[in-house]
């Protein structure tokens, strides 16, 4: 009963929000309360739907085959993630969405997107999977294109990628349908197991490439930064945390469940150089290059969108090792990343709500004015950088262990290079926003209201709790691994107990608190200390005041600028993207010239056509 409700509620929500769009200008409260109610209900139903795992439900019959949907462990995990983050984002938007009339359809499209995602995650046959995939990508386009014209241009970029991904998938669906005779996953699995190599390769390419495009893996990530960064900040949080992971869900579902791991491994030269190694290399590139591009960004949101690509690379790294630890790391990283990226972007939204800008060169010193936002971002960046005691560390530790012991040293090195890049760009983010001198124009900035603070506190608690007690999350992941046919991870409440050295986050955090207390004791043993104003500062004898600009924000990592200047501006992926677009336009122009506009050429075409047709038929006869 709950499973149907999971699909029905977003639809109803969409309908009502669609009708309420007119009221947004006069009183946005109506739409907001409706949205809050709707998403809270979805979250509640998602929690309760756990009981109905495994039962299949019949949907409408299309083209003679019944659309079936239902919950499995993997899909329930994703449904919970979707429902949770949507509810939190909506709570945040209650406070942050001031200019509601700029986004009349904000919640309507959000409902549509949730419907698409939940449908995708719960679909149990190929056709319903594809229908929900298309609905989701269209809904994502509609969600992105709201607000300023800049976001519409970026959404257009996303649309090209999403539609080409959708069409390749449609090709794959048709191919599999004709080859295996039906849409059910079971039939397809049996067919693929028996099929010869050629068929498998085409099926895998046609099905997996769209997921890589949606998950913004390295060569196909061009659309993500501008699309996510130009939409409204809370929407950036929502998109970065969950929207790109649908591609990963597809990957997990098809690689582990539908095609099965042994079929995937049949493609490739040797046990060490097969499809999974290709995925690993792609994942490593995805992890490293976007993270170092994030270093050069001047806008906070754009910096984080580059990170969402980078962290997507980590998840793919974990999954592509297909070992117990690796997949556990990948799956947990999806959850971890969702929590702390939402936390960071919410605090950026809080800063933007008060100061009106996210330009890292203009901000500074807001720690004294917005301490809660600072704390939120602090927890977030510790998680993003993967430093204990936050949860980001646990999943990264799994991924490193599996890569090193799995015999991929250089991929492990690439992962660590990405971590160093993350730490650098993450510190630049918190330094330029909260630390340094407070510009005089932000003197009256105050903390944001409790509505916006609530999600920040909740996420901080989640990031810390799952960091110290990773067992709570690992139990879900173990059940998923069993369902995917991988040996489940031997988890304890504090981490992992394995023969090759284990991890216990509880002990690490306990030791950290004790040593922190020792540090505090030493600190308070010293003399009295006095907090002084920011202008009472060493400036080689110069007198500081509010007119003296005394911040180091611009060009924060100048050495990297020197070294990677040319590479960054060459931006290989974006330039290939532009050239491709120009190529299609010029070819189109030449073809259009076929329609010359003079009647005599048309007559010539006519005669030529008849003659060629006759010749064609002659040799056909």
């Amino acid at each position: 009963m709950y499973t149907q409700a999971l699909l029905l509620l977003p639809l109803v929500g969409f309908g009502v929000a669609f009708l309420l769009q007119g009221t947004v200008k006069r009183s946005p409260a109506i739409v907001k309360t409706w949205a809050m109610l709707g998403f809270a209900a979805i979250a509640a139903v998602a929690a309760l739907a756990g009981a109905e795992i495994g039962t299949l439900y019949e949907g409408p019959t299309v083209f003679g085959s019944v659309l079936t949907y239902g919950l499995t462990d993997l899909s329930w995990w994703f449904v919970l993630l979707i429902a949770g983050i949507t509810a939190l984002t909506t709570v945040f938007t209650l406070g942050s969405l001031r200019y509601a009339d700029d986004y009349p359809m904000y919640y309507a499209w959000l409902f549509a997107k949730v419907f698409g995602m939940i449908g995708l995650v719960m679909s149990r046959d190929l056709l319903s999977f594809f229908i929900m995939w298309e609905i989701m990508s269209w809904a994502t386009y509609l969600v992105m294109q709201q607000g300023r014209d800049e976001s519409r241009k970026a959404a257009q970029g996303y649309l090209v990628y999403a539609i080409s991904a959708g069409m390749i998938l449609l090709g794959g669906v048709v191919f599999l349908r004709t080859a295996s005779g039906s849409f059910e996953f079971a039939v397809i699995t049996k067919f693929v197991a028996g099929a010869d190599l050629g068929v498998i390769i085409t099926a895998i390419v046609l099905v997996l490439v769209p997921f890589l495009i949606e998950a913004a893996v390295y060569p196909t990530h061009g659309w993500l930064p501008s699309a996510y960064a130009s939409s409204e900040t809370t929407m950036t949080a929502y998109l970065s945390s969950i929207s790109t992971r649908m591609g990963l869900f597809g990957l997990i579902l098809f690689v582990f469940n539908v095609f099965g791991l042994d079929v995937i491994d049949r493609i490739g030269i040797s046990a060490h150089l097969n499809l999974r190694t290709l995925l690993l290399v792609l994942a490593a590139l995805t992890a490293v290059l976007p993270t170092y591009t994030a270093l050069f960004q001047h806008d906070a949101k754009r910096l984080l969108t580059w990170h969402s690509i980078g962290q997507g690379g980590y998840m793919l790294l974990g999954l592509a090792t297909a070992s117990t630890l690796g997949t556990a790391g990948g799956l947990m990283h999806i959850f971890n990343y969702m929590t702390y990226v939402a936390l960071i972007i919410f605090s950026i939204a809080a800063v933007e709500y008060r100061t009106g800008t996210t330009n890292l060169n203009k901000l500074g010193g807001l720690i004294t004015r917005q301490p809660v936002a600072f704390l939120g971002m602090l927890f977030g960046i510790i998680g993003l950088a993967g430093i204990p005691p936050m949860n980001g560390f646990v999943s990264k530790w799994f991924i490193y262990r599996s890569l090193i012991l799995g015999g991929y040293p250089f991929v492990a090195l690439a992962a660590f290079i990405a971590t160093v890049g993350t730490i650098m760009s993450v510190y630049k983010l918190i330094h330029n926003t909260f630390l340094g001198q407070l510009p005089e124009r932000y003197n009256e900035v105050r903390e944001v209201g409790w509505v916006m603070q609530l999600p920040i506190w909740v996420l901080m608690a989640v990031v810390f709790a799952t960091g110290v007690f990773p067992g709570t999350i690992l139990q879900w992941i173990a059940r998923i691994q069993v369902e995917l046919g991988i040996a489940p991870i031997a988890y304890t409440l504090g981490g992992v107990a394995q023969e090759a050295g284990d991890l216990n986050m509880m002990v690490i955090t306990l030791v950290f608190t004790l040593t922190f207390i020792v540090g505090a004791v030493i600190f308070f043993m010293g003399g009295k200390r006095r907090i002084v104003s920011q202008y009472d500062n060493y400036a080689a004898g110069h007198f500081l005041n509010k007119d003296v600009p005394y911040n180091f924000n611009y060009n924060f990592y100048s050495a990297f600028d020197h070294i990677f200047e040319k590479l960054y501006h060459a931006a290989p992926v974006q330039s290939t993207e532009r050239n491709l677009g120009r190529l299609v336009a010029t070819v189109g122009e030449y073809i259009r010239r076929f329609f010359t506009g003079q009647i005599n050429t048309y007559a010539a075409y006519y005669v030529a056509a008849v003659i060629i047709a006759l010749a064609f038929l002659k040799e056909v006869l």
């Binding site: 006095r530 104003s533 009472d536 004898g541 007198f543």
Partner: protein, 195 residues
Amino acid sequence: MSDKELTQRSAWETVLASLKKRSLWMLHYCTGCGAVELPPTMTSRFDMERFGIMPMVTPRQADILLITGYLSVKTLKRVILIYEQMQAPKYVVGFGSCTINGGMYWNSYATMKSLDRYLPVELYLAGCMPRPEAIISGFNSLIDRIDRGEANSWKDYYENYEFYRKNQEHTFGDIETHRSIADDAQYYGFVEVTK
């Protein structure tokens, strides 16, 4: 300097003083010609690091403020700012005759005649640029004074701040150092809380 400090020092303070004297970090404000005498004192020829004295870059980390020459009105403003940025206990060392009585520029309209009217000076090193031996003997006497607990001139700045402030104002008017010495004095308890 009230007499109480001189006589009744607890055993712990005595031990502490003997330890603290072994580490003095010096911020040399090289105005005038005095700076040229410091390299030989610091490097291998005389090596003042034997006594734990090390040149330091920022006032926050320095204990000794070595003013090595005459002070004009403009440089005095900077010296006051740096002095107030230093952490107590801090010792001003006047270096050369220019800081004692204006030295060669005794009749100039622009240079300060005696340093101690603007800052509590712990130690003067006489000489129209004293030689490294003089510097080191001066520092040794400073170390002995710290050991005996007599090097408390920095308290004088807090206790008689009005005197120093008036002289400073007389010279260059008001400066904005974003800090009030009177509040500091009461906060740290160098002066009995009047209000």
